[in-house]
């Protein structure tokens, strides 16, 4: 529940704060920006610390899988090892095709993270641009962009992705990038909406009016004053969506329309493990746990960021 919109600036009641106190300017201390304030709050929150460590670890695994395993994930798969249990050098055992499961799980991190991060960047670029323009300028531009967003917003992500990936161009050029493009195409409207709302909230603030009256161009005011002050909810959403996109990538790969077979992906592994579910469920469980941990860490980070950046919900 959002509280009623309150005035952004107010004068404290007299009985609480002495008038002199509000008038005094503390010059010896650097003023705390929203970001610095948020950071101070964040670094003490266990949720943030845990999720950050997990994400850093995941990024390290994605960048340097060789540190953790020397076994190639996709070659040296021997049917003789099919569904074999763990043994020395192969802590998770083997998949149905006899590939080393540990190595596949480790190498799968890369696809998930890169799709997630790249898709979020694309969504940020498209969504923030459209949302900011629509919210700031309003009028016909707002109407056009909002309707355009509504069209894409009405397409369910998975259904839309199923259709788009069947287009010949996408089918023949399957790669991490096609998945990124598909996700970005379908997921930007939400980002645009949030940005639009935040920009509308800020655009009439006094400091924007002040900047404009001092001669800052309209566009300049958007870039220098409005956007930076509207970014907080955008960052929170981006972090949460990162987790969602990682799930989407795994889902698409599970359905066989995600990244190509040669790219390791947890979605592929989970799909391939269905055959083994009655005989060796661990083959299904390991990549599932990896996927869950990865998504969980981003969702946790998003939560922590929201708490820190949204002053309204903070104290409750």
């Amino acid at each position: 529940m959002k509280p009623e919109r309150t005035e952004g600036h107010y004068v404290a009641p007299l009985e609480e704060t002495a008038l002199e106190a509000t008038d005094t300017l503390r010059v010896e201390e650097a003023p705390l920006s929203l970001w610095a304030d948020a950071w101070r709050k964040l670094r003490r929150r266990p949720l943030f610390i845990v999720s950050s460590i997990m994400i850093l670890a995941l990024i390290f695994i994605a960048l340097f899988p060789g540190v953790f395993t020397q076994v190639p994930p996709n070659n040296e798969c021997l049917l003789a090892n099919s569904e074999a249990g763990p043994r020395e050098g192969h802590p998770f055992g083997f998949t149905f095709q006899g590939c080393d499961l540990f190595s596949r799980v480790i190498h799968g991190t890369q696809a998930s993270l890169s799709v997630g991060i790249l898709a979020v960047l694309c969504v940020l670029v498209i969504g923030v641009t459209f949302g900011a323009l629509a919210g700031y300028y309003g009028g016909w531009l707002d109407a056009v962009l909002a309707r355009l967003g509504d069209i894409f917003f009405a397409l369910p992500l998975i259904l839309g992705a199923l259709v788009i990936t069947q287009l010949p161009f996408f089918r023949e050029n399957k790669s991490v990038w096609t998945v990124v493009v598909v996700i970005a195409m379908l997921a930007w409207p939400q980002m645009a909406r949030i940005t639009r709302g935040a920009v509308i909230e800020v655009r009439n603030a006094d400091f924007v009016t002040a900047a404009r009256s001092l001669g800052v161009s309209r566009f300049g005011a958007l870039m220098r004053h409005v956007l930076p002050n509207a970014l907080a909810p955008v960052i929170v959403l981006a972090t949460l969506e990162l987790g969602v996109f990682i799930v989407t990538e795994a889902t698409l790969s599970f359905l066989g329309i995600g990244v190509p077979e040669s790219v390791m992906s947890w979605g592929h592994d989970i799909a391939a493990a269905q055959v083994s579910i009655r005989t060796n469920p661990m083959i299904l469980i390991y990549p599932s746990i990896a996927l869950s941990l990865c998504v969980l860490s981003f969702i946790m980070l998003g939560d922590a960021l929201r708490d820190a950046l949204d002053p309204k919900s903070r104290e409750r």
Binding site: N75, E76, C77, L78, L79, A80, S82, F96, Q97, G98, C99, Q166, G256, I257, P260, E261, S262, A272, Q274, V275, S276, I277, R278, T279
Partner: protein
């Protein structure tokens, strides 16, 4: 049988996988328990929505086929081993394999009382073959004199090079079909064909009542036949996307008399729920098992499962138009690929014994099969030789390694597992990159193959239409044959097939067909992979079920309690 049918058959069968044939307990009455057979019990069976209206000559996929086969009776029927026995035919005689005289049994009728005479067959077959009727199975009549005229089409090529064909028959009936009297049917073939009569049990040759010819579409919704079963209600019992109910035809006299009261085919889109229904005795028999049950179905259904080799095989076809597989280097590469596939291990591990490694282009259940056709050594697993052959090919013409070897396959129906395994064989034994090229539907692969625009290796399968070696060679590998999508052509192979067809005895014919296989082993247009065993399971309501030569359940033989 065309690949559309195969796709489902293979999908089904692939999904189905069978148990280790050697150790499957096989069907049998549980020892000691006396279970009286209830001849009126209606059994329920796994199936799916038929693709087309239920006209025998238009049904070329398994789910419609299994209904049609119960509703109709042809001149012949097949015993469980694929041996044809006369059904409506009193006798089938020929002296030169070209002119056939068929005596139709007296007194046979459709369930609506209409008599079945020689003329019924003439009319039904002419209907099926006429190109304007667009019956899927019309090519089964291709050897009858006059077929080229009734099947004629005009082909037009538009500006984009797309060919469309419009039916343009120059005759309405086949001149080679004559009903001499009510009981005598005379058939003249275009050329002598020793095994022609073997196919007379196939559904394309079933008789149709006059109502069918008048309004095929309406008839196909509620067919009136002459088989061991009939539609449960006179007004029709095909509930689309749900079920088809059949009941015993009380007047049926023939080799396939029903041992139960009826069959209700329940349509499932996924074998998973069907499997749990079977375990709960809500479904009585299924020939399609979910792939994750392949290793457990023998323990989930102790004494209630059976696995039997069937006349269905799988090959890995290599398009001749792929530049990497042309000339001498291409030949060496094909041999290398064949030697690199560990068929034994894949059959054992991936299919859990529900496949038998192929020894020829024809499955062992077909009469005339020979396991040691010269050249078949190429099917043995020999990684060292494979690597050597590949290196020799590289010396002649380096492989364009910019793209991995792709194996096109639909990913539904349990194909991905073995395609991955074969890719791994290629990777490990030849040091090349290989991976699956996934398609959502088999039809998508087929469309590309038909236009020769699929350069990848492609999986292919063939389910026998009738138990004959020719059926596994002619339609698939002969020049311009109906299912020769990769356009393989070798005049010598075609000549041996023709010689086989025209020889007087089946033995002579089979010898020629085996000679023809030697050429296939030399050219390797496709790599034989394995032959299927069909696994079926049944509920506690059923005493015993079994599959026929082609892997289809013999529903009429099912005894229920």
């Amino acid at each position: 049988m065309r690949h559309s049918r195969i796709s489902k058959a293979l999908g089904a069968a692939a999904a189905l996988a069978l148990a280790v044939s050697a150790c499957a307990p096989g069907g049998g009455t549980p020892g000691g328990t006396e279970a009286p057979v209830d001849p009126n019990k209606v059994i329920s069976a796994y199936s799916n929505e038929p693709q087309n209206p239920l006209l025998p000559a238009n049904t070329n996929e398994v789910y419609g086929g299994r209904v049609v086969e119960l509703l109709f009776e042809g001149l012949r029927a097949y015993d469980p081993n694929g041996k044809p026995v006369n059904a409506l035919a009193e006798s089938i005689e020929t002296t030169d394999s070209q002119h056939w005289t068929i005596k139709v049994k007296q007194g046979a009728t459709f369930t609506n009382g209409e008599a079945i005479t020689a003329k019924t067959f003439v009319d039904s077959w002419n209907f099926a073959a006429l190109s304007t009727n667009l019956q899927n199975n019309s090519f089964f009549f291709e050897s009858i004199e006059g077929y080229p005229e009734v099947s004629a089409v005009t082909k037009t090529t538009d500006a984009e090079g797309k060919t469309t064909s419009t039916p343009a028959p120059t005759a309405q009936t086949m001149s080679g079909l004559v009903a001499k009297d009510d009981q005598t049917l005379e058939v003249t073939l275009l050329q002598p064909e020793a095994d022609w009569s073997l196919r007379l049990g196939y559904s394309a040759f079933y008789p149709l009542p006059s109502a069918a010819l008048a309004d095929p579409k309406a008839y196909g919704e509620n067919p009136v036949g002459n088989g061991p079963y009939m539609m449960a209600k006179e007004t029709g019992s095909w509930v689309h996307d749900q079920s088809i109910s059949l009941v015993k035809n009380p007047d049926y006299e023939g080799p396939r008399k029903a041992k139960n009261g009826g069959v209700t085919f329940k349509f499932y889109t996924d074998p998973g729920p069907a499997y749990t229904d079977l375990q709960a005795d809500n479904l009585d028999v299924s020939d399609v098992l979910p792939s994750n049950a392949l290793k457990t179905y023998t323990t989930d259904f102790p004494d209630r499962n059976a696995t039997k080799p069937t006349a269905t095989n799988s090959t890995l076809n290599i398009p001749g138009y792929n530049p990497n597989f042309q000339g001498e280097a291409g030949k060496l590469r094909r041999q290398a690929l064949s030697h690199a596939i560990n068929r034994e291990e894949i059959a054992k591990v991936v299919f859990n014994g529900t496949r038998t490694p192929a020894k020829a282009y024809v499955p062992p259940v077909i009469e005339g099969f020979k396991a040691d056709v010269p050249g078949s050594e190429v099917l043995t697993y020999d990684p060292a030789k494979a690597k050597d052959l590949w290196a020799q090919a590289e010396a002649i013409q380096p492989y364009d390694a910019s793209k991995p070897i792709l194996i096109a396959s639909n990913t539904d129906g349990g194909n991905k597992e073995w395609v991955d395994a074969v890719s791994n064989n290629f990777k490990n034994n030849l040091g090349i990159q290989a991976e699956i090229q996934p398609f959502a539907k088999f039809a998508e692969v087929l469309d590309l193959r038909k236009t020769q625009s699929l350069v990848s290796l492609t999986r292919a399968g063939w389910q026998g239409d009738y138990p004959s070696m020719y059926n596994f060679l002619g339609p698939v590998w002969a020049t311009d044959a109906s299912s020769n999508y990769e356009k393989y052509s070798n005049p010598e192979f075609d000549r041996l097939l023709r010689e086989g067809l025209t020889s007087d005895t089946t033995e002579g014919a089979n010898a020629k067909f085996n000679q023809a296989q030697e050429i296939l082993f030399e050219d390797l247009p496709g790599l034989p992979l394995w032959d299927q065993n069909r696994a079926i399971v049944w509920s506690n309501n059923v005493i015993k079920a079994e599959t026929g030569w082609n892997g289809a359940i013999r529903y009429f033989d099912i005894e229920a309690k």
